[in-house]
């Protein structure tokens, strides 16, 4: 696709508008603010520009720009990915309810967006996630058990960004977009972008994940500015799940989010975030554009947060069940399952085997969680600096000595 191609063709009414002189009549076709907000409020429909390859009914449809060839094996693989990730996610919720986790951040409903995007990445790529990216983590080879430390309170993330190509979860909203832009600039500076011939397989790209609420953050804006002016190979993957805790998208924007890309000078595409095929196709295209030196790209994955913001949240206070019911009909896993069965890509035996695997994962996830050792106090004093600061060293020594004073007491704890 050429860079020109992404400019959405004008609709007939716009052409008329553009062809006339300025004045009140010329702007009559521009939607009013109320109309725009009404459109944003219609959250169950993604609009005419939504890229979709699999309908909610599991029907494979084609798209003029983003069609994709996938093998049956890949389709079954993505089904398995989504089922397992959802199962771990539900188990996370349950573990929090049982007091085993301090908090859990549910992914429910966003499996297709994340698995499609995650499976489009290559080992040499780098992901800069927000905190709900359990599906992306899965695709990067971060085991679900490695997510538990954050939510059980034993660490801030136990995986190595260098070996996994997955940055740590970023709790502060939107900050990671700048880190991603800088990382992608580094990829370009190192000449890992736009190589042709034998080197092209090594071309790299970066992808950063954030939500609809984050688009209001200055860091996201700055990240897009920086990425644009330095042609950084970064995909801005926005999961518009319609809710920023309790605030609907209309509190963040007057225009559909993907349209903002045009203002920065790069393509913006809205994809059906509940369609794993479309998510894969669009993200693969976007990452390839970046690898070829045509980045950045903004993807708005239009999806829905089926659960609360976190286990500490009560979504019934601010949104209607009707909305949820409408989105249940668009479930990402169900539509792929129907497709696999109808097209005889998967049989019952396969579906059962995935369910059994999910049961095993849930058991392993749970066992790992309840058996996690308490972090030793001395750990918090380490890795503050490359060379331990004299202040920290003294505090560590003093505090461990203080703790030693309780070694003889029965509880052995801090009093």
């Amino acid at each position: 696709m050429s860079p020109e191609h992404w400019t959405r063709p004008s609709r007939p009414d716009e052409q008329t508008r553009n062809g006339t002189a300025s004045g009140p009549a010329a702007t009559s076709a521009v939607p009013t603010r109320e109309q725009v907000i009404a459109g944003l409020r219609a959250t169950s429909e993604g609009g005419a520009d939504l890229v979709q390859l699999l309908t909610p009914e599991g029907q494979r449809v084609s798209h003029p720009d983003f069609d994709i060839e996938v093998t049956d094996e890949q389709l079954r693989g993505m089904y398995r990915d989504m089922v397992l990730v959802r199962r771990a996610d539900r188990e996370g919720n349950a573990l929090q309810r049982q007091g085993q986790l301090g908090i859990w951040v549910p992914l429910l409903g966003q499996e297709a967006a994340q698995i499609g995007a995650g499976r489009a990445m290559r080992p040499q790529d780098m992901a800069f996630p927000s905190y709900r990216e359990h599906g992306v983590a899965w695709c990067r080879g971060v085991d679900p058990t490695e997510l538990l430390g954050i939510f059980r309170g034993t660490d801030h993330g136990s995986w190595d960004p260098n070996t996994t190509g997955m940055g740590l979860y970023t709790i502060v909203i939107g900050n990671q977009c700048l880190n991603a832009a800088g990382y992608a600039m580094g990829q370009r500076f190192e000449g890992r972008v736009g190589n042709t011939g034998g080197d092209s397989a090594d071309n790299e790209a970066t992808m950063t994940f954030f939500g609809d609420g984050a688009t209001s953050q200055g860091d996201v804006h700055e990240g897009m500015v920086w990425a644009a002016v330095y042609d950084a190979p970064v995909v801005f993957f926005c999961q518009n799940n319609q809710w920023a805790i309790s605030e609907p998208t209309e509190r963040q924007t007057r225009v559909p989010l993907y349209e903002r890309a045009r203002g920065y000078g790069f393509p913006g595409i809205r994809v059906d975030g509940n369609d794993v095929l479309a998510s894969l196709a669009v993200t693969r295209w976007a990452l390839d554009e970046c690898r070829h030196g045509n980045g950045p790209v903004l993807i708005e994955a239009f999806t829905y947060r089926m659960d609360a913001h976190t286990t500490s949240d009560d979504a019934s206070r601010y949104r209607l069940d009707d909305d949820l019911e409408a989105w249940k009909l668009k479930d990402p896993i169900e539509r792929l399952r129907v497709h696999l069965v109808r097209e005889q890509i998967a049989d019952q035996e396969f579906l059962d085997s995935v369910d059994a695997e999910a049961d095993e994962l849930a058991q392993r996830f749970r066992d790992f969680c309840v058996n996690m050792p308490e972090p030793p106090p001395e750990r918090m004093f380490s890795e503050v600096y490359a060379e331990e600061s004299p202040v920290v060293a003294a505090q560590r020594q003093d505090y461990l000595q203080y703790l030693d004073g309780f070694a003889d007491s029965a509880a052995g704890g801090v009093h």
């Binding site: 993330g157 700048l178 800088g182 860091d219």
Partner: protein, 328 residues
Amino acid sequence: MGQVTMAQALNTALRDSLRADPNVLVFGEDVGALGGVFRITEGLAAEFGEQRCFDSPLAEAGIVGTAVGMAMYGFRPVVEMQFDAFAYPAFEQITSHAAKLRNRTRGAVELPMVIRIPYGGGIGGVEHHSDSSEAYYTHTPGLTVVSPATPADAYSMLQEAITAADPVVFLEPKRRYWTKAEVELPAATEPMHRAVIRRAGTDVTLLAYGPMVATAMEAAEAARTEEGRDVEVVDLRSLSPLDEDTVCASVRKTGRAVIVHEAPVFGGYGAEVAATINRRCFHYLEAPVARVGGFDIPYPSPKLEEHHLPHTGRILDAIAELQWEEDR
């Protein structure tokens, strides 16, 4: 060699670092063709190309946030905040990401980067050009915070900061950019984290850093000629970590201490130094530790800054209050 200004020394340190390590990058607002508003990066873009020294968008969070990403990729970014108070939009990236990433990743990710910040007053700048923001950074674990006071230190400490494994907030006393000294470059002064005695004395220790070292030296000389006091001046150089041993050795010797900084006194860095002295030198003290700093007011307009900034008279006043034997 001859006379070198602090600005020239910093420029040479950047040049030598860019030469020594291909991973060093210099960027910030106006640092390319213009050479920075203070000309610290003069000629670097021409010599090393736009890929090594480049202008950034006017977005300070972006400067630090992208530097974090570049450092993760393996570069050593040296970024410039144009002025102290312009760095505040970057505060979140500095404190939440640059300072913490090593700890959050249990050492898996290192962030070698330098955030250069021209700071402090005394140049008649309009609002937001004269803040002393050091305490914000020294209060953040994970950051190294240093401030040179001489051209030789500016060269040596900046080079050392660039080779450090962790993020360094490098506070440049902008009013001393044009201070000249006889320096042979490349200069290697004491290690970055060591405080040094700038002037030996026996009666009282003046503790200062960055722009206030020269002021303390003037005050020490005035104290000798006007009051007959023998004042020792310690240049802290490194604010985090603080070289406690050098500070305490001096105070134990003199028994009196005055901390001087431009920043407001309340919650200022001097409180940390005073606490350290109280903890480690209490029985050596002849008088309470004194602090001379800016008033606890928003930085005043340029015509008033001479009253706000510590000067010889106020330092001498503070010294006079230190419960001298003849007053008892």
